[in-house]
C-alpha cells in the first residue's frame, strides 16, 4: 500500500485548502450537471412504469397530433404513425444512456489498460500500441463508426463496438503519458524493490493514480458517445429502426420538419440537455481535479 500512503500524504495537505475554496464557486455547475444527468438516468431506469403508452404502439386515428399540454393523453404529441412522442422520448433515454455507459466503460478499460502497459513497459510494446493508436486516430471521427456500422449491420452490440473503436484512444494517450512519469516515482521503485510483479505494480500502484484523469476523460467521452450514437442512428446506421432512440426519432422526423415541429424538437432537446448536463459535470470535475487549472484559478 505504498501508493496509498504517498497519495494520501500528497493530497492531505492540499485537500483541506483546495476543496472548501473551490466548492462554493463550482457547486452550481456540478450541481446543475449532476441533477440533469441523474434525472435522465432515473427516467431511463423507471421508464417503462412512467411512459403513458407503448412506444411502438401505432394509433392510426391519432396521427400527427400536436402537443396537447400536460395532463392530455398525448402531452408531447404523436408522430406520423400515431406513436406517442413522450413515451418514445422516455424509452429513447434508456438506449442512449445504456450505449453511452457501455462505451465509456469498455473504452475506458481498453484505453487505460493499453496506455498503462504502453507507458510502463516502453520499447517494442509501446511502439506497437502507439502505431495502433496512430492508425485508428487517422480516421476522421464518426467516419470509422459509419464505416464499421455500414458493414457490420445495425444493432446495439455493433453500435457499441463502432463507438469504442476510437474512444479508447484519449484514455490511452493520456494514461501513457502519466504512466511514463509515474513509473520513475519512488513508490513504484519501492514496490519493485519489495518484489512486486509488473502486473501488481500496474494494477495496484499505477492505475489507481490515473483514476482522476480518466474520470474527466470518461465524462467527455460519455457526452460525445451520446451525440455519436444519435448521429449514427440519424444516418440510419445505428440501432435498428424498431428501437426508439433520440437519433432514430430525429431521422423519422426529418421529412415532416415543415409540418410537425414537435417531431424533431423533443428528441433533439433531450440530447442537447443531457449532453449539456454531462459537459457541465465534466467541466466541474476537471476544475476540481486538474491542478494546472486550479493554480491559475481558471474556470472553463
Amino acid at each position: 500500500m505504498v501508493f496509498m500512503q504517498s497519495l494520501t500524504l500528497e493530497s492531505a495537505t492540499e485537500k483541506s485548502v483546495v476543496w472548501p475554496r473551490l466548492l462554493p464557486r463550482l457547486h452550481v455547475k456540478a450541481f446543475t450537471g449532476g441533477v440533469i444527468v441523474l434525472l435522465f438516468i432515473i427516467i431511463g431506469i423507471i421508464g417503462p412504469s412512467i411512459a403513458p403508452f407503448d412506444p411502438n404502439k401505432q394509433e392510426l386515428t391519432a396521427m400527427m397530433k400536436a402537443p396537447a399540454g400536460i395532463g392530455a393523453p398525448h402531452s408531447l404529441g404523436t408522430d406520423n404513425l400515431g406513436r406517442d412522442i413522450l413515451s418514445r422520448v422516455i424509452y429513447g433515454s434508456r438506449v442512449s444512456l445504456l450505449v453511452a455507459f457501455a462505451v465509456v466503460f469498455v473504452s475506458g478499460f481498453i484505453g487505460i489498460a493499453l496506455g498503462a502497459i504502453s507507458g510502463y513497459f516502453g520499447g517494442k510494446v509501446d511502439f506497437v500500441i502507439q502505431k495502433l493508436v496512430e492508425v485508428v486516430w487517422a480516421f476522421p471521427p464518426l467516419l470509422l463508426g459509419i464505416t464499421i456500422m455500414a458493414f457490420l449491420g445495425q444493432g446495439l452490440f455493433n453500435l457499441i463496438l463502432a463507438l469504442v473503436a476510437q474512444r479508447w484512444i484519449p484514455y490511452c494517450r493520456v494514461v501513457r503519458g502519466q504512466t511514463l512519469s509515474l513509473r520513475n516515482r519512488d513508490f513504484v521503485t519501492a514496490a519493485q524493490c519489495l518484489g512486486a510483479s509488473n502486473r501488481q505494480i500496474i494494477t495496484r500502484h499505477i492505475i489507481p493514480n490515473l483514476i482522476q484523469t480518466s474520470l474527466v476523460i470518461g465524462t467527455f467521452a460519455m457526452a460525445s458517445s451520446i451525440i455519436a450514437e444519435a448521429s449514427l442512428s440519424f444516418l440510419g446506421v445505428g440501432v435498428p429502426p424498431e428501437i426508439p432512440t433520440w437519433g432514430t426519432m430525429l431521422a423519422d422526423a426529418r421529412i415532416y420538419i415543415s409540418t410537425a415541429w414537435w417531431l424533431p424538437l423533443f428528441p433533439g432537446l433531450c440530447i442537447f440537455v443531457t449532453v449539456l448536463g454531462i459537459n457541465l459535470l465534466g467541466d466541474a470535475l476537471r476544475d476540481i481535479l486538474d491542478p494546472r487549472l486550479k493554480r491559475s484559478g481558471a474556470k472553463i
Binding site: L143, L250, I257, A298
Partner: protein, 333 residues
C-alpha cells in the same frame, strides 16, 4: 524543417497502408452481395458471373487488395458500381461543395469564437465571460444535425428567409469552372449568383461550424487566461501599455498556438459532421455522396471516399505541425 517533414511523410505511409487494409477488409467482410443489389434479385447466374468478372469480384480477396493498393497509389480507386464512372471523377465533382462548406464553417466559427474567447479570457468572471462560456458550452453540447433541423424549422420554415437545400437556385449560377460555386461566381462577376450562393451556404455552414465555435471559444479563453499570468504580460503593463494593446499584441499572439492545434484537430470532426449536415441540407457534397454510396453498397466509391477523407485528415495534421513553426519561432524541427 524539410527533413522533419520528409521524416513525417515517410512515417505516414505505413499508416495509410494499414488504413487501406482496414477499410478494404471491413468492406469485404460486410454482408450483402453488391452484384445482387445492383442487378436486382431476378438476374440469372450468367449475368451475375459476368458482372463479377467485370468488377473483379471473382478473384481471391488478397489479389483484389493488392490490385487495389497498386491502383490507389496512382489515384485510381476503380469504377463506381452505381455511377459507372471512375470513382476519382465522381469524388472530384462532389468534393468542392464539401470544401466550400467546410471553409465557410471554419470562417464563421473563427470569426465569432476567437474575439469572444479573447474578450472572455481577458475579463474573467465578467458578464461577457459568463455569456461567452455559456455560449461555448451550448455550442459543444448541441448535435449539429439537430441544430440544422431547428435552423431549417425557424429561419426557413417559419420566417421563410433562407433556402434550405442545395447549393444554388436553378439557373442563377453561371457555367461551372472550378466546382467552387462562390469562387466561380465571383470570378464571373455574377453578383446575383454570389448572393444566391451565400444564402444557400449560410445555414449549413452555421450548423456545421457551431460545434467548432464552442470548442474554439473555450480553448481561446483558457489559453488567454493562462498567458495572462505570464511575467511578460506584467512587464508590458508595467511599461504603461494600454490594456487593449497588452491583450491583443502580447497575449493573443502567444495564446493562439493551442487554438491552431484545435482548428486542425476539429477539421476531422468537421469532415465527419459534413456527412450529416450535407444529408440534412441536401448539400451535393462528398459527405452525402458517402451515404448514397453506402446504401447502394458501392464498394469502390465508399473506399474512395473513406480514403480521401482519411488522407485529407492526415494531410491536415501534417500541415498543422508545420504551421507550429511558423506561429511559434521557438519551435524548430
Amino acid at each position: 524543417m524539410v527533413s522533419y517533414l520528409v521524416h513525417r511523410l515517410a512515417g505516414t505511409l505505413p499508416v495509410l497502408l494499414l488504413i487501406s487494409f482496414l477499410v478494404f477488409s471491413l468492406i469485404h467482410a460486410a454482408p450483402g452481395d453488391p452484384t445482387l443489389l445492383l442487378l436486382g434479385e431476378e438476374t440469372n447466374a450468367a449475368d451475375i458471373a459476368r458482372a463479377k468478372e467485370r468488377w473483379g469480384l471473382d478473384q481471391p480477396l488478397y489479389v483484389q487488395y493488392l490490385k487495389f493498393v497498386r491502383a490507389a497509389a496512382a489515384g485510381d480507386f476503380g469504377k463506381s458500381f452505381k455511377y459507372a464512372e471512375p470513382v476519382i471523377n465522381v469524388i472530384k465533382t462532389r468534393l468542392p461543395a464539401t470544401i466550400e462548406l467546410a471553409v465557410f464553417a471554419i470562417i464563421i466559427a473563427s470569426l465569432l469564437a476567437i474575439p469572444l474567447g479573447v474578450w472572455a479570457g481577458a475579463k474573467p468572471n465578467s458578464w461577457i465571460d459568463n455569456l461567452g462560456t455559456t455560449f461555448g458550452l451550448f455550442g459543444i453540447s448541441m448535435p449539429s444535425f439537430w441544430l440544422a433541423i431547428m435552423l431549417i424549422l425557424l429561419l426557413a420554415g417559419v420566417l421563410n428567409v433562407l433556402p434550405t437545400s442545395g447549393r444554388s437556385t436553378y439557373g442563377v449560377a453561371g457555367p461551372e469552372q472550378t466546382g467552387f460555386y462562390l469562387f466561380d461566381s465571383i470570378m464571373q462577376k455574377n453578383w446575383a449568383a454570389v448572393w444566391d450562393g451565400l444564402t444557400h451556404i449560410f445555414l449549413p455552414a452555421l450548423a456545421l461550424g457551431m460545434n467548432m465555435l464552442g470548442i474554439l471559444m473555450r480553448v481561446t479563453r483558457s489559453s488567454i487566461l493562462e498567458v495572462m499570468n505570464e511575467d511578460y504580460v506584467q512587464t508590458a503593463r508595467a511599461k504603461g501599455l494600454q490594456e487593449k494593446n497588452v491583450v491583443w499584441r502580447h497575449v493573443t499572439s502567444n495564446a493562439l498556438i493551442p487554438v491552431i492545434t484545435v482548428v486542425g484537430l476539429e477539421l476531422g470532426t468537421l469532415l465527419s459532421g459534413s456527412i450529416i449536415v450535407e444529408t440534412v441540407f441536401a448539400w451535393p457534397g462528398s459527405g452525402s455522396l458517402l451515404i448514397t454510396a453506402l446504401n447502394a453498397r458501392d464498394y469502390p466509391l465508399v473506399t474512395g471516399i473513406v480514403m480521401t477523407y482519411t488522407l485529407a485528415f492526415v494531410a491536415i495534421n501534417l500541415i498543422i505541425d508545420g504551421l507550429y513553426a511558423v506561429v511559434d519561432p521557438r519551435i524548430r524541427y
